[in-house]
Amino acid sequence: MSMAVLILMLLGGGLLAWQSERIHPDLPRWTALATVIVALVFLLVSLPPEQPTLPTDPRGTGDWLLHLKLAWMPRFGIALELALDGLSLLLLVLTLLLGLIAIASSWSEIDFKPGLFQANLLWTLAGVCGVFLAVDMFLFFLFWEVMLIPMYLLIAIWGHENKTYAATKFFIFTQASGLLMLLAIVVLAWQGLAASGRLSFSYFDLLGLTLDPRLGWWTMLGFFLAFTVKLPAFPFHTWLPDAHTQAPTAGSVLLAGILLKTGAYGLLRFCIPLFPEASLQFAPIAMGLGVAGVIYGAVLAFAQSDFKRLVAYSSVSHMGFVLLGLYAWNQLALQGAVMQMVAHGISTAALFMLAGALQQRLHTRDMGRMGGLWHQAPRMGACAMFFAVASLGLPGLGNFVAEFLVLLGLFAVQPWLAALAALGLITAAIYSLWMMQQTFQGSPDEQRKLADFDVREMLAMGTMVVALVWLGLYPQPVLDLAQPVIDSLQHLVPSDNAVVALAPGAAVNKP
């Protein structure tokens, strides 16, 4: 029940924030802040003291901490079914934390209808939480779609100069692919009907269906498309630079930090477990797309002159690692992918917050018009440097652990792809440092006045710095949370060798 309460809390908080604008224009953000904090505390408090044994499917899909099932549409075997496991918990905490960051980053940015802004923000969070919790496929799709609308409004109303184009592109890309997913979900459910004689959209009922290989392949593709558009993987990424660039800071933070993770989550939770055989067949293509994304994103990031666009392309590059990790499909790579989800969420959110702060102060995102900002804003510079090196994968920070694990896992499967993907480490260095050079280094414009980060912003940044360092030096708690899911994924294939068999020439002889 507490999961439903969590979502309702965010929804209600949104309404409250919206209406509180009538009383005082500052009230919405406090309301939003309070809501997210309360939700976070509530989530952590409502966790069961020890892991109860909850319904697990025949294939042993991890250990579920919480489970809720309410009847909704028995006509189609659809229920309000929510469940929480380690992975969901991890992503929920990330979501709420980044929600806090998003609120903090929009603290003084929004002066037009702040109430509605905060409401949309909270509603997006609610939708994302729903995505991470839903285990009924229909419900999942519902949250998947519904979270788009407040996000769309965030971009379309409070975005920058080219917001219409960006918001529309974002919506159409995700919606079109979402429709394909709906199709795939329905096909899957009907396959379930054929197999078990009962129409059901429950994840647990659909797991382990034996599908007709061809149909399974196409159905898998439907899911895959929806998730990779959201992820985004090359070549479905083109909505992302526009959306990220045009969104208000909080929107970019949410988009990059959380919304992209829903794609990865979907692949991890649904696409692969539901279609293990098809995914196995598809893995080489998916990994190819991942590598293409890593390199393409990095090269394009370097080519940008717009700060936010650069960060956006870097996201494309980083999410390529997630795709690689997921389809390399061994423990190391999967853990790496999960780590990357978390670490990238934090580092990119921070960079977007920084970009937003710069835009708010300089009224430009064009790096050609910046330069030497370190002189005027050393705190900003230090933060920028930290997150730039985080995003280029400096050891000791979360991103490194993630990328290293992914590549390590991938190397066992596809050494040549791993070698190609490792080029991403170099290209990441190129664009990250180039970004630093253009913004904070170089000779300053002495006439320019630039207010450095204030306490609020430093607090937000500091949180993220600490989180990244923690992830980089002691990521074990995160890994442990994700471990059950990853174990269950590994059970899906006969053995590790099945994946390795895809790559002739890769010999694995572990001692």
């Binding site: 549409m73 519902l142 769309y152 918001a167 919606q175 709906l182």
Partner: protein, 481 residues
């Protein structure tokens, strides 16, 4: 005719009596408010009477009409839609001269739709269709301050007349082939007749053409935007929802009763036209700046989605689900369309060009009329098929039906069409969300409390089946089994 017959036909009787009553009332005292309220009351009563009629259903009343729960459900729907239209158009027509007859015609048109819902015979189909159309001609041309309605009415009259004649010619050929006029008898006759398919198929195509014209299926869609655009907004809503719904209902009934699904070629043609409609309708709407025209084009696409049902019905195993899907879709679509056009009625208050509603006019609506804009948002999202709205569940139904029949091409057309469609719905939303200063001129809107309450109710009707559709689903299943 027995008492049972009368009970089964109660909604039609209420409507007929109501029409008479209205006429008398108009003759006695001219008062738009009174007539409007009375008309709405009659329509609501008729809707309520369906509840009583259900007790007698299913009952074949003369060879012409069949009052079963399927028909009565649609009677209820059409009557309610008519009542809402009556309430919405109150302000619209009261500015012209002699607005009272408008309501009379509205009641008659609703009655035509109800007749169509009950029709199982060529005669009742003909009469229902014409009663609906003839009333609509006048309704469309009703306002007398603008020439656009006139143009729309003439176009509709000429083309619709031709379409009716085409359908009738088809029926005549069928009659010549089978010697009967009842739908199911035609079906049986077709099985027995030796005249064969060579005459049957052109006949069926002519019938289908006639009805497809009224549904504005591509390539018989050209009239749609012009008529939607020119007609007064509430009438457009009525035309788009009730008139189309009624025609679809009778088309479905004809196909089911006469079991035309046997003729796979015919069904295939409907599938082809469905694909055309889905794609072309959405493409046509793509860059429209006139909202009414945009909705007209989108209605073409929606009919395309709906036609999928006919394809699915070919497999008798999936027929029940397909019909269920169609009913749900029609209900959702009717509620959404009436709401959308009702909102347009409230938005456009400029008396001179109120038939013509441009995107510019809704610019910044979110900030001027937040409630209205939110309602519009919900209506648009429902049309676009976004979850939590009836439109989504309806689309979900369709997808289920199509998946059950493995109609992949249709499904992909649906996805393609919907993907294109998002753009223009979003565009309206985007215009509504424009910040002050981003749009040129401010447009005044009337604050009409009653209209807003009504639209609010309609929005509830959109959201409720979107959020908790189970009871409706259960009811539909009960009807069909």
């Amino acid at each position: 005719m027995t008492v049972m017959d009368f009970q089964a036909l109660l909604p039609l009787l209420v409507l007929a009596a109501g029409a008479t009553l209205l006429m008398l009332q108009i003759a006695w005292v001219r008062s738009p408010d009174l007539t409007g309220a009375l008309a709405a009351l009659i329509l609501v009563l008729a809707a309520l009477s369906c509840h009583f009629a259900v007790a007698a259903a299913p009952l074949q009343v003369t060879p012409l009409l069949l009052a079963d729960r399927y028909a009565l459900l649609f009677c209820t729907l059409f009557c309610l839609a008519g009542a809402v239209t009556a309430l919405l158009s109150r302000d619209y027509v009261s500015q012209g001269d002699q607005p009272e007859e408008f309501f009379l015609l509205l009641v008659l048109a609703t009655m035509g739709a109800c007749v169509l819902a009950c029709a199982v015979h060529v005669a009742s189909l003909l009469l229902g269709l014409e009663l609906l159309s003839v009333s609509l001609y006048t309704l469309i041309a009703y306002p007398n301050k603008s020439i656009l309605p006139l143009e729309a009415a003439v176009k509709y009259l000429v083309l619709s007349g031709a379409a009716s004649a085409t359908a009738l010619f088809g029926f005549a050929l069928l009659y010549a082939a089978t010697g009967t006029l009842g739908f199911s008898a035609i079906g049986q006759g077709l099985e027995e007749t030796g005249m064969g398919q060579s005459v049957l198929l052109p006949a069926a195509v002519m019938i289908f053409t006639g009805l497809a014209f009224k549904l504005s299926v591509v390539p018989f869609h050209l009239w749609t935007p012009d008529v939607y655009d020119g007609a007064p907004a509430p009438v457009t809503g009525f035309l788009a929802s009730v008139a189309k719904g009624a025609v679809f209902v009778v088309l479905l009934r004809l196909f089911l009763d006469a079991n035309l699904f046997r003729y796979y070629r015919l069904v295939e043609v409907t599938g082809l036209l469905a694909i055309f409609s889905m794609v072309a309708g959405n493409l046509l709407a793509l860059l429209q700046t006139n909202i009414k025209r945009m909705l007209a084009y989108s209605s073409i696409a929606h009919i395309g989605y709906l036609l999928i049902v006919l394809m699915v019905c070919t497999n008798s195993a999936n027929q029940a689900l397909a019909v269920e899907a169609a009913i749900f879709y029609l209900i959702a679509y009717t509620a959404t369309t009436i709401a959308a056009f009702g909102l347009l009625t409230l938005i456009s208050c400029d008396p001179s060009g109120r038939e013509n509603i441009q995107l510019q006019q809704v610019s910044g609506l979110f900030w001027r009329q937040p409630v209205l804009a939110c309602l519009m948002l919900v209506a648009l999202l429902s049309l676009a098929g976004i979850p939590l709205t009836a439109g989504f569940i309806a689309k979900f139904y369709l997808v289920n039906a199509a998946v059950s029949g493995h109609h992949w091409i249709l499904l992909f057309s649906l996805v393609l069409g919907s993907s294109i469609g998002i753009y223009y719905y979003l565009r309206v939303i985007h215009y509504m969300a424009r910040r002050p200063g981003e749009h040129g001129t401010e447009h005044e809107t009337i604050s009409n409390r009653r209209g807003r309450i009504l639209c609010g109710l309609l929005i509830a009707c959109i959201l409720l089946p979107g959020i908790a559709p189970q009871s409706l689903m259960q009811y539909l299943r009960a009807i069909l089994h």
